[in-house]
Symmetry: C4
């Protein structure tokens, strides 16, 4: 018996939070690189520029949606980390997997902006969201099982974390299924769900999702 490397590795929740903040910050700003400024030649008047910018509108919508997605999952991860008393190497790797999926988001976003009418692009984007939710679910379950969360976590908090993931993923899946009709319906529905999560209403039926 002896102290193996795995026992002493990856114990810092603070370093995990710092790496995550950095990676989310880069991913959020990389998204905007997709908003390419129109080329100057050929655009000489305000009217010409306005119409060129109008062509960017779909990309801006997709960019906003991805920013919301990243924001929602950043809050989700932060909420979990704030309840972890400590980490171990397994939890650290679960969150590195989470960050890997986060780092794919600029690619999925770019893909959907470029092929906004194709279901393949929309479904890959949705798979990216599913992966984000799945890893957060694994993270919470593992941390509860390995007793890495603060000891005073009540069953109520446990349930509310799990419930949020299940309900949100259910809604995202329904939204993705709407691409049977049109990818625009999917995007519209998913953004509506996200806006509700952002607004976070305190009363009424929407406060229950």
């Amino acid at each position: 018996m002896g102290t193996r490397y795995n026992v002493i590795a990856g114990q810092s929740v603070e370093r995990l939070a710092a790496l995550s903040d950095g990676l989310f910050a880069v991913a959020m700003t990389l998204l905007v690189l997709d908003l390419k400024v129109p080329v100057a030649q050929g655009i000489k008047t305000d009217q010409a520029l306005l119409s060129a910018l109008g062509g960017l509108a779909p990309r801006l919508v997709v960019y906003l949606m991805s920013f919301l997605t990243l924001g929602i999952f950043w809050v989700g991860q932060q909420t979990q980390l704030s309840h972890f008393a400590r980490a171990d190497r397994h939890l650290t790797w679960i969150h590195l997997a989470f960050l890997f999926v986060v780092s794919l988001m600029p690619f999925s976003t770019s893909l959907m902006a470029e092929f906004i009418t194709l279901r393949t692009a929309l479904l890959l984007y949705w798979l990216n969201i599913v992966a984000l939710g799945a890893v957060l679910l694994v993270s919470w379950r593992y941390a509860m099982g390995a007793r890495l969360v603060e000891p005073d976590i009540s069953a109520v908090i446990d349930r509310s974390v799990l419930r949020r993931i299940y309900v949100a993923q259910g809604l995202y899946a329904f939204g993705a299924a709407l691409c049977l009709f049109s990818t625009y319906w999917s995007i519209g529905f998913i953004m509506t769900v996200q806006m509700i999560y952002v607004a976070g209403p305190r009363t009424g039926i929407l406060s229950r999702i």
Copy 2:
């Protein structure tokens, strides 16, 4: 009654500060990617290089102005965060909205550098500044109303935060209006205002704005 997810989410001012620092750092350095190094072919002498670099001067001015803008709003956000005793999910989302607007700044900057004589580009840049100020205003008012600020915040501090936002936005609006004459007048006026804010004179009439 039960602990809903929204009650436990987004409570960390520290994580908010860390994400903000990361995002500002990326946005500030992305600006410089607009300064494109001249292509080597065709430039064989120091004179040729100097004149090629001279052509970059307007971009450098625009870049400096955007760095000042980001610096001013980074200080503004930091000043607010340093007075927050804690956050809640609404305040977190207000600041994620703030970061979204920050992440648009490299795009607005690029647009203005490319179309420096067109009012559309200047007004969009100004709208970006207006949005930054508006979100910070909402942040402060919400935090005061929800009692998230430290309890010993005096009415004097409250007034000075609000006054700064109103006065600065008034000056930026006046600067933007100068584009009726020329976009260069607007840029010159806005940069002058920014320089005064950077210098932060302690006495004289300029110390009152």
Copy 3:
């Protein structure tokens, strides 16, 4: 006698950790820029998009491998830093050298993705991994010698840190040597080793590597 600059410089383990987290975060997200979204013209159907994405599969594998590499060495560095009671300027520069090698990883990755069948690309990638391990080895030995580690570090921890570096580098070297047969064998072997490190099995023969 006098306080020389070198005595007061570079003493903060926290700043070192923060710079490292930022640099790893940027390097991890820069990797994904290699995943270029297919160009829209010519792709009009889901089938066409799927087959275009299929062509990206090798790049995605290389990207995943590099993310694993960076993750493994981020955990490795974190484990060391968490045992340092303080830093001095030499230790700071050893870790700046480490970060330099980290910053080369997106380049090595890109090179290997572009020339996946050429041994030169694979061996340069491997040299990048060797350099990461070598600098971490120097870091640990220096910190032990200069008594910068926490005083209660046992010989067992010391041995387990060193053993991990030697065993891992031995396995990576064996994997690199497999390129005598095929670069794909090398990539397959190295990724298998990495997956074992990520999984971190607690029992069985794999728990001893």
Copy 4:
């Protein structure tokens, strides 16, 4: 009389350090984007790849030099910040000016890599280094004058900080002047000086610079 905004703004040394770490991390990794992977077509053998990579060697040297420059000034800023008991808005803006100059470094580096034989490129690079040193000098003098440094800073520390800046800038200026003969002499001399600073010898004549 009343609490003006400027009195409460920009007081956090921690936020300044976090923004700086983020910006240095991005600048350090942006440098490597200059190392462009050779294009795959036309390169079919290991020999062809090796010779294509050989052509990147000058860029790698310039990149290493810039990484050293950023590392040296990161340590220099960290050393100052670690002695500051608190900040005020003026000190914050001095360091934002420092970060602006840091963010120009990838551009200067790119310029020198592209025009390595032209004095203009070398002198602009040198001016970037001069600006870094000048702002750090202003920072230290201001912090000492405004009593923002920790009270127990001895005259010895004060002198050693100032002396380091003067001596280093003198050496860099001498190196830049060598471009009268050849820009390669300048680069060689400056890198030698940097390597000595990195090594930080404890005895002998080199320990006095």
